[in-house]
Symmetry: C2
Subunit: 233 residues, 2 copies
C-alpha cells in the first residue's frame, strides 16, 4: 500500500536527486536546441524563450544544491553516497554553465541580425551543434547509468569536437579575409563556435564524473589535461 507521508525515505531522496539532475539535463538540451535555432533563424521569440529557460535552469541548480546539502546534513550519508551527492553539485554546476552558453548563443542572434551573413557561413555551426548535443546526451546517459565505458567514449570523442571546432575556426577566418564585410558577422560566429566547443568540454566533465562515480578513480590527469583545455587553434 503506498504511503503518502511527507518525509520520504533516504533512497527516495537519492532517486529524487538523480531525477532532478536528469530533468535539468533535459531542459539544458532543449535550451541548446532553441538557442541554436534562434541563432540560425534569427528568431527573437525563440531567443527570449532560451533566456527564460536559463532562468529556470539556474533555479534548478540552486534546488539541487539545497537538496544535496540538506541530505548530507540530515542523512549523514556513507562514503559512496556522499561522493554521489557531492558529485551532483558539480554536475549541476556544469549544466548551469551549459545553460549560460545556450543563452549566449540565443543572444548572439540579436547581434547578428541585419549583418551581412551568408547562409553557407552557418553550416559548420550546425554540424558542431549536432556533435556537441550528442556528446552532452551521451554524457548524461553515462552519468545516469553510472556507465564507465560510455563515459570513456564521450571523453575520447571530445577530440572530434575539437577537430571540428578548429576546422570551423579556420573556415570562418577565410571568409573574413575574403571580404572585410564578413569580419563582424564571422567574429560573432567564432564566439558561437567557442561556446559550442565549451559545451563539449562540460559534457566531458560530466562524463569524467560518471567514470569516477562508477570506478572510484579519476581519468588520468594527463588525459584530462589534454582533452579539456588544449588550445588547438
Amino acid at each position: 500500500m503506498p504511503s503518502d507521508h511527507i518525509v520520504s525515505s533516504y533512497s527516495d531522496e537519492l532517486i529524487q536527486l538523480a531525477e532532478t539532475i536528469a530533468r535539468m539535463g533535459g531542459q539544458v538540451e532543449v535550451a541548446i536546441e532553441d538557442g541554436t535555432a534562434a541563432l540560425l533563424k534569427l528568431d527573437r521569440e525563440l531567443a527570449d524563450k532560451t533566456v527564460e529557460a536559463d532562468r529556470r535552469i539556474d533555479g534548478m541548480q540552486r534546488q539541487i544544491d539545497e537538496m544535496a546539502v540538506s541530505m548530507i546534513a540530515r542523512r549523514q550519508p556513507m562514503a559512496s553516497d556522499l561522493r554521489a551527492i557531492v558529485t551532483s553539485i558539480h554536475v549541476a554546476s556544469d549544466l548551469e554553465r551549459v545553460g549560460d552558453m545556450a543563452k549566449q548563443l540565443a543572444r548572439r542572434s540579436l547581434k547578428i541580425e541585419g549583418l551581412n551573413l551568408q547562409p553557407g557561413f552557418y553550416n559548420g555551426v550546425k554540424n558542431l551543434t549536432a556533435l556537441v548535443m550528442s556528446q552532452l546526451k551521451d554524457a548524461l546517459d553515462a552519468y545516469a547509468a553510472r556507465n564507465a565505458e560510455e563515459a570513456i567514449e564521450v571523453c575520447n570523442r571530445d577530440d572530434e569536437v575539437d577537430a571540428m571546432y578548429t576546422s570551423l575556426f579556420r573556415e570562418l577566418l577565410t571568409y573574413m579575409m575574403e571580404d572585410p564585410r564578413n569580419i563582424t558577422p564571422c567574429t560573432h560566429l567564432l564566439f558561437c563556435a567557442k561556446s559550442l566547443e565549451r559545451i563539449g568540454d562540460h559534457a566531458t566533465n560530466i562524463a569524467e564524473r560518471a567514470y569516477y562515480l562508477q570506478t572510484g578513480k579519476q581519468l588520468s590527469e594527463d588525459v584530462e589535461e589534454l582533452q579539456r583545455t588544449q588550445i588547438r587553434v
Copy 2:
C-alpha cells in the same frame, strides 16, 4: 602547552579550509600574471610555467573538495558551517576555471608567435588584465573577510569590465578591417579578451558567494542575470 596530536579540532579544520582557498586564490592570481606576461612577451618559458601551475591548481581544487566532503562526513556541521563548507566547493570550482583561463592565455602566446602583431594591439589587453586582476583580488578579500559591502562593490564594478571588454572588441575589429593580415592575430587577441572577461565573471561569482555567506541572501536574480551573462557586443 601546544598539542601535537594529528587529529585537529573542528575549528582548526575550518581555518585550514579557508587558508587552502586563500592559497589557491594566490596561486591563481600569479597564474594570471604569468599567463598574461607570457602572452605579451611571447615568453615560452613563462607559458610552460603557467601550464604547470594550472596542474597544481587543479590538484588544489581536488584537495579542497576532499577536505570539504570529509569535514561534512565526520563533523556533521550545523547549517551555517555547512553552507560555508559547501560554498568553498563552489569557490574552488570558480578558481579552477580561472586557472584554466590563465593557461589558455599562456598557450595562446604560442599561437601568436610569428604573426604580424603590432605592439599597440596589446594595450587594451593590458588594461583589461589589470582591471580583472583587481576584481579577483577584491572578490577573494571579500570572501575571506565575509565582507558584504566589498562584495557588492565587486559586483557593481563588473560593468566596468564589460565596458572595457566591449571597447576592446570593437578596437580589435577595426584593426582587422584595416588590414587582412591583422585578422588572424587579432582573432587570437579577441579570445584572450574573452578569457579575461570570463575571469571577471568568476570574480563576480566569488563576490556573490561572499555576499550570500555574510547575509544569507542571494544578490537578486535580476542583478545576477544582468551582471553575469549579458552579451554586450
